[in-house]
Amino acid sequence: MADHVHLEYVVEGDNFVSAGSATESVKACLKGMGVKPEDVRRVAISMYEGEINMVIHANGGKATADIYMDKVVITLADTGKGIADIELAMKPGYSTATDDVRSLGFGAGMGLPNMKKYADECLIESTVGVGTKVTLVTKFSA
């Protein structure tokens, strides 16, 4: 038996109807595996923010989830425009979202802060013009 479950998803850019479906799938899988509801919720919140960011800013990308006995590792990788100043992007309230996206209720500038708040580890690697990779590690509570 494999030591963990590996899941992969293609996230479609600018599609606000399907947005969140990768996270929905990971949530269902964690729930089915008997992970505690509060841990599932933390994973879902942080992953959704990452998924939405790829929909809004990066013309989509690829999401993976590796589920171990004691943790889940989520990656969200895109080939979008990248983040010039990660520190600024992490600042609550800072957003580069368009008015159209804001009218849907996104673009509050809370996406990255939420990821940091709900994941135990949040690593953002980005190169302007090349893309961004976000790695989120959530450890399951005892």
């Binding site: 606000f16 109807v17 947005a19 969140g20 996270t23 929905e24 949530k27 509801p37 509060e38 919720r41 879902a44 919140i45 959704y48 923010e49 849907l104 209720g105 996104f106 509050a108 500038g109 809370m110 996406g111 802060p113 939420n114 708040k117 709900y118």
Partner: protein
């Protein structure tokens, strides 16, 4: 209190009844989705005027007990179908957000 009791208290229209026996533990009000994701407690009633399809994903992922659409907001196309698929309770009231919450608090239910 249950979602059913909340719906009756707010004279709300039923948009989707996934499980009205679900308990509402607390509440949260807001329209910016990342605020709701980050701050709405599990099992809360979420009071909003936002009606696009993304409210379903947010409510589902944040384990919200019921979405309370205020000011007679009508859900946008696709919302009801998605709510059925994902098992999300949605009700709609003519009250504005402040008045809806005031009513719930005045009746001492949350």
């Amino acid at each position: 209190m249950t979602v059913q009791a909340l719906a009756e208290m707010l004279s709300a229209k039923i948009i989707n009844n996934a499980d009205f026996t679900r308990q509402v533990a607390t509440g949260y009000a807001g329209d910016l989705l990342s605020f709701v994701m980050g701050k709405a407690p599990a099992d809360s009633a979420w009071f909003t005027v936002m009606t696009n399809i993304n409210i379903c994903a947010v409510a589902h992922l944040a384990d919200v007990a019921v979405i309370v659409l205020c000011e007679d907001s009508e859900p946008m196309p696709g919302v009801t179908d998605r709510a059925k698929e994902q098992g999300i309770n949605i009700i709609s009231t003519s009250l504005d957000i402040f008045s809806a919450i005031k009513k719930v608090l005045n009746e001492g239910q949350i």
